[in-house]
């Protein structure tokens, strides 16, 4: 058997994962991906001698995950790159190279990923980032960042343009790197809730849900139906909050101040509902391994229902107004197109992939939490432009609000909110995936002989999607960059870790 078959929130023994030579593994990956699988994780784990490369592929129609691995002996410093055959691996291979120094031979775009502090090549300096150069008489460059004009996370964008037209955008990140992955494997894994919430504040619920579900799976903890429902509600609140904030920004960027302030104020109602539940506008401290810290009692449930009904009314009203305004539509439509073929090739995920026609949603493909009992349906649009990404946010916000209102109306009766901790299964691997506001978050944990976490790997949806933004602005005017960027609304800190 070449692949160990597993699923979302399932734990398998390390011994059941096949060990191949790198060349064999690459051939098998290419074969599987040609049949429709796609990568969700690809990372190295340093061993006493050499490195073990783990790869996890998703088979979405069958709700399956497939795991395999290969070992590199000490001194074995290269393998044949997969990217030239399957472009979806381009960033995974770059990350693996940056971490371990093992070179994917024949990689067409082997650049630094985030200049992590424990990178294999310490001589690589941020100031020497190898930017792509476009030359010619009318070519000029526009550099932006790392410090941006608003209150935004840091990142450097360099546009190669002729006149107003962008030929190529190079996105250079890594400024937010705080060393989260090694910190996860340092000390008790049960004490990392706060660290996980601090990966990306706007996806704190999604990340803490993935982390908690992972530990619950690895330790065999049952979470009560009520706690599961509260978690799912919080995840949908987080989704609506981010969509409202993106829409607010998009309206602001095209000069629609009414949309800007109305969407902004609507977001406030949503995040204040989280404050009502757990005392934090970002849902910090709500989710812990074993369940949730806070209950939703009858009184709060009525209050939340009332707020969500009102928010839904507001979203309908502003959405219909915004997407009927010729001034807004003329800026949104046919701007920053990523077609379905490109989106699939570079393995885009989440709302931006769905706006390019890819039917990908972890809530439906690899259901977790309450979505197993009360399914979420996939929505897609075909045009792949700023309009599609914006309209998708409007559609999803409406759908999420409906989902939450249904959920709150039939909240499962009381039960244990927070279950006892257990001990993690030794020598095992667990994968947990969550559809966060931006798309698929992947957490992978490998445990050692005593059940301690020896490797913890994150993948944020922005890891897949930043390259999509670079492709979206090709051939567009530089002045359309802000709306392209806002329509993707990607995370810097989730990528930089």
């Amino acid at each position: 058997m070449s692949w160990a078959v597993t699923g979302n929130n399932q734990t398998i023994e390390l011994a059941s994962i096949p060990v191949k030579t790198p060349a064999e593994l690459c051939t098998e990956i290419i074969e599987q991906c040609r049949r429709g699988a796609r990568p969700v994780a690809f990372f190295g784990h340093k061993q006493s001698s050499g490195v073990r490369l783990f790869v996890i592929l998703a088979n979405d129609p069958r709700s399956e995950l497939m795991a395999s691995s290969a070992t590199f002996a000490e001194g074995e410093k290269s393998y044949p790159s997969i990217t030239s055959e399957i472009p979806a691996f381009h960033l995974f291979e770059r990350e693996f190279y940056e971490d371990t120094g093992i070179r994917p031979e024949g990689h067409p775009w082997l650049k630094p990923v985030r200049f992590s502090h424990n990178r294999a090549d310490q001589s690589a300096k941020m100031a020497d980032y190898p930017f792509f150069k476009v030359e010619g008489e009318s070519v000029h460059e526009v550099g932006v960042g790392p410090v941006h004009a608003g209150v935004i996370e840091p990142g450097h964008f360099r546009f190669m343009c002729s006149g107003e037209k962008v030929h190529h955008l190079e996105i250079h990140l890594g400024y937010q790197h705080r060393g989260i992955e090694p910190a996860m494997a340092d000390g008790s894994i049960w004490k990392k809730s706060k660290l996980v919430e601090s990966i990306a504040g706007d996806s704190a619920i999604a990340n803490s849900l993935a982390y908690s579900s992972l530990l619950e799976s690895a330790a065999g903890i049952e979470v009560s139906a009520r706690a599961t429902a509260i978690r799912t509600l919080a995840l949908e609140l987080e989704r609506v909050a981010l969509h409202m904030s993106s829409m607010s920004g998009l309206c602001g960027d095209v000069g629609d101040l009414t949309g800007n302030t109305f969407f902004g104020a609507t977001r406030t109602y949503v995040i204040n509902s989280l404050l009502d539940i757990c005392g934090s506008r970002f849902g910090y401290s709500l989710i812990r391994p074993g369940g949730v810290n806070f209950n939703i009692d009858a009184e709060l449930s009525v209050k939340l229902l009332k707020t969500l009904e009102m928010v839904r009314e507001r979203v309908f009203l502003i959405g219909e107004r915004t997407f009927n305004m010729p001034g807004v539509l003329s800026r949104f439509q046919h701007t920053g197109i990523v077609d379905d073929k490109t989106a699939e090739q570079i393995n885009m995920v989440g709302i931006t992939a769905r706006a390019s026609g890819l039917k990908r949603d972890i809530r439906a493909d690899h259901p977790f939490g309450f979505y197993r009992l009360y399914p979420a349906y996939k929505l897609t649009l075909d045009s792949g432009d700023v309009f599609a990404r914006a309209y998708m946010r409007y559609l999803e916000a409406k759908r999420s609000l409906g989902y939450m209102i249904d959920l709150l109306s039939g909240l499962p009766p009381g039960g244990q909110l927070l279950a006892e901790r257990g001990s993690l299964k030794p020598d095992s691997m667990t994968v947990s995936m969550v559809e966060g506001p931006r798309g698929e978050l992947v957490h992978v944990m490998i445990t050692g002989a005593n059940g301690e976490a020896v490797r913890y790997k994150f993948k944020d949806p922005s890891f897949n999607n930043w390259f999509g933004l670079a492709l979206a602005v090709r051939g567009e005017g530089v002045s359309d960059f802000p709306i392209c960027n806002k329509s993707f609304d990607l995370s810097y800190c989730g990528y930089d870790l």
Binding site: G201, G279, S285
Partner: protein
């Protein structure tokens, strides 16, 4: 047209009219109330704290390190630690952020930030700030954005986030300052004309927070430059920020 009017009516008045008297939701975790008499030094609180903010005998919480997660409160068998929704937490000295049983929240607010005459004279009526996110999780950044939204509307006090350090009177730092961002942070500060102020916003900026032991940080900036205002929180509530700055400006 009709829709636009409906939107305008539906929006109504969103702003908080009196930010100084406004109260935050009772569930909000702000100023911690400590009780030494019931504390049995069991050590649960120090054991669960993710950032080493709690010390026992006598009980003390360093709000510059605290992430306001409430884990200590939940772990305490005697309710010796209770987070209140009191949100005016800013201080102009690092050591003032360490609170004990005797610290009274209202007195804290008065003592912790002393309005200086020259600050009032220079920036009292107009303060333009430049934001530098340096390793932040985007939580404080979103809340700093929210300070300027229709709800909190900090611009009405003449406090504004500007797009260039050349237009600014100071900087607001969010995040624990990653090694990769250390140069850009200092560069931005040096581009702000003097006299200038520095505000450290959020637990990460003040102490490194949950990242304080990470080898990927470079916090030399804080040894080199004096911080004028510390605004604790994880993330900082917009009312905490606005009230802190208003007090700093002597308003």
């Amino acid at each position: 047209m009709f829709d636009a009017i409906k939107v305008r009516i539906k929006q109504g008045k969103q702003y908080i009219s009196d930010v100084k008297r406004a109260e935050v939701n009772p569930k909000f975790r702000g100023f911690p109330k400590l009780d030494d008499k019931t504390c049995t030094s069991c050590g649960n609180c120090t054991g669960v704290c993710p950032s080493g903010a709690v010390t026992g005998r006598p009980l003390k919480i360093d709000m510059g390190k605290c992430t306001f997660c409430g884990d200590c409160q939940r772990a305490c068998p005697n309710q010796s630690i209770q987070f209140t929704n009191f949100h005016k937490l800013s201080a102009d000295r690092r050591e003032a952020l360490i609170v004990n049983e005797k610290t009274d929240p209202n007195q804290y607010t008065v003592d912790a930030v002393q309005a200086r005459h020259e600050i009032k004279r220079l920036f009292g009526r107009s303060l333009k700030l430049r934001s530098v996110s340096a390793g932040g999780c985007n939580g404080c950044e979103l809340e700093l954005n929210a300070c300027s939204n229709v709800n909190f509307d900090m611009t009405r006090f003449g406090i504004e986030i500007v797009a260039s350090p050349r237009h600014a009177d100071g900087i607001v730092i969010t995040g624990p300052v990653s090694e990769n961002m250390a140069y850009a942070l200092e560069d931005t500060l040096l581009a702000v004309p003097s006299p200038r102020i520095i505000i450290a916003m959020g637990t990460c900026a003040i102490s490194g927070g949950v990242f304080q032991n990470s080898p990927a940080l470079n916090r030399k900036f804080f040894d080199k430059y004096k911080i004028d205002l510390y605004v604790p929180g994880c993330p900082v509530h917009p009312l905490t920020f606005i009230n802190g700055v208003l007090r700093f400006l002597g308003r």
